[in-house]
């Protein structure tokens, strides 16, 4: 990238090779698709730093949204230069951002039949990419690997984790050292999360009891439609989308103008956030030349990819998770408390309802404070492989709203120490020993 502002805390020489890569991968299960990705080596380049892949939701929004506005190494300044993000997740790991499903971001195809409609297509593409990435970087193949993401990635992540686990068990290719997956303000189990809308809205004072009870009448119809959708329905799933979204739009109609990503805020007109600098920056010729994207457009969010995934929306992706937990793979579900669209209540309900060997122990586990800088940054419940974290003072985009807490959360979770008193990310060395 041009004009990276050198920062005292980091390498003073902005032109030093920072181990930042960008590339295209030709998807084998496609007519003509190429997936674009960024790979950022960890900032301290420690030999045992893990690899974290981040998947952005939408569906159909580009990974650069999170990269520049949530947890990437840089933020974009007003004058189109880059500043280091002190709490970038590259402080704790090597980072992969992938523009997926194909058609979004800088990923493209020459054949629209390559636009994905379901999690089989999405997870196969990601698995094939990962195999090619590790073939390109064999030195990284043994590193601990974590799948993370947000929002609609609550669908992608369980499917991708199951695909990696299946590939490992079948010795399909390079063994991936999958240690865990983390879902932030996700949509994973619609049958439980949609009925939570009126309850969350009532609890947060967005609707009255009368409006709540009125919306409740839709819940049985929504639940029935999701049953009919099942795990492989198509038209039935579209019908379920329309029926169940009356619960969400019912809340929105009563809570006029609320920012459903963060109910503490109002949207100014139709604007809830301003991510336009990302589009400006990625359309600079100097940046496009750096990235080697030629004449490929940057599609920040794709309406076609969004529409193509609608038949996938109401499917339940929780079903594949228990097998992963039983095989020792960790799952963290976290949610900013002020997000409405993928609210913490719906996420907490499906996590507690999940049938696995630790279900009763998890339900009985006490909530403990998640502490950062000596202050409570959230409340945590965990047992065995499973952790649920409700993050204070955050909306849909936790790493954007609470960057330090999010980095602490990632570090502690990857060290399997999220359940102990988490330590402050800046308290390295002797202080850390004292805390431990």
């Amino acid at each position: 990238f041009p004009n990276i502002l050198a920062d005292a805390g980091d390498s003073g020489d902005a032109v030093q090779d920072l181990g930042h890569h960008a590339g295209y991968y030709k998807l084998p299960k496609s007519q003509g698709a190429r997936m674009f990705y960024f790979f950022f080596e960890s900032r301290k380049k420690k030999e045992d730093d893990p690899i974290v892949i981040w998947l952005t939701g939408g569906p159909g929004c580009s990974s650069e949204l999170a990269m520049f506005y949530e947890n990437g190494p840089f933020t974009i300044t007003k004058n189109m230069s880059l500043a280091w993000n002190e709490y970038g997740w590259d402080q704790a790991s090597n980072l992969l951002y992938v523009d997926q499903p194909v058609g979004t971001g800088f990923s493209y195809t020459t054949d629209k039949s390559d636009i994905r409609h379901d999690e089989t297509g999405v997870s196969d593409d990601l698995y094939d990419f990962l195999q090619a990435f590790f073939a390109e970087h064999p030195n990284l193949a043994k590193r601990d690997f974590y799948i993370t993401g947000e929002s609609y990635a609550g669908h992608y992540i369980p499917a991708f984790a199951a695909r990696v686990h299946r590939g490992n068990k079948a010795n399909e290719g390079v063994h991936v050292n999958l240690k865990g997956f983390a879902i932030g303000n996700g949509l994973t189990d619609p049958a439980i999360q949609y009925p939570a809308y009126p309850d969350y809205a009532l609890e947060m004072g967005l609707i009255t009891k009368a409006e709540h009870d009125r919306l409740e009448k839709i819940v049985p119809l929504c639940e029935l439609s999701i049953k009919l959708c099942g795990t492989d329905g198509t038209v039935s799933c579209l019908a379920s989308y329309l029926v169940c979204n009356t619960l969400f739009s019912g809340v929105i109609n009563h809570a006029r103008g609320v920012n459903y990503y963060d109910i503490r805020k109002k949207c100014e007109g139709s604007l809830c956030y301003d991510f336009s600098n990302m589009e400006k920056f990625l359309n600079l010729n100097s940046v496009r030349k750096s990235l080697g994207v030629g004449d490929i457009e940057f599609v920040s969010c794709s309406t076609s990819v969004y529409s193509a995934m609608l038949q996938d929306w109401m499917r339940n992706l929780e079903i594949g998770i228990p097998a992963l937990l039983e095989d020792g793979i960790n799952m963290l579900v976290y949610a900013g408390e002020y997000d409405l669209i993928c609210n913490w209540l719906g996420n907490s309900r499906w996590v507690n309802a999940m049938e696995w060997s630790g279900k009763e122990s998890f339900k009985a586990a006490k909530e403990v404070p998640f502490v950062v800088d000596g202050k409570e940054a959230g409340s945590l419940k965990s047992f065995g492989q499973l952790s649920f974290l409700k993050v204070k003072d955050a909306g849909h985009m936790v790493p954007m709203d609470q960057p330090k807490a999010a980095l602490n959360m990632l570090k502690s979770w990857m060290k399997n120490s999220l359940r102990e008193v988490p330590v402050d990310v800046s308290a390295e060395g002797e202080e850390l020993v004292a805390q431990m």
Binding site: I4, D17, H20, H21, A22, G23, Y24, Y25, K26, R34, G60, L65, V102, G103, T104, F106, S107, Y108, T110, D111, I115, A132, F133, A135, E136, K217, L221, L242, N245, T246, L247, F248, S249, G250, I252, N253, C267, S270, L271, Y273, D274, F275, S276, E279, S290, L291, G292, G294, D295, I296, E297, F298, V299, S300, C301, S302, T303, S304, Y306, S307
Partner: protein, 60 residues
């Protein structure tokens, strides 16, 4: 119950998928030029069929 539903304001156009996708994108103040990156295979140097499956470059 269907008449109850159809009278419900929440069945407004906003819940139809294509308009919801458009709203989602406008709410983030994003204006992508394309609704998906589907390009004409002939006119891009990047679509050469042969060559390695992954092409990566360091950027500074």
């Amino acid at each position: 119950s269907s008449s109850f539903l159809l009278n419900d304001r929440s069945f407004e156009i906003s819940s139809l998928p294509s308009s919801r996708a458009g709203n989602l994108i406008r709410e983030l103040n994003l204006f992508p030029k394309l609704d998906a990156n589907v390009i004409d295979g002939d006119d891009s140097t990047l679509t050469a069929a042969e060559g390695p499956s992954i092409v990566e470059r360091n950027f500074r």
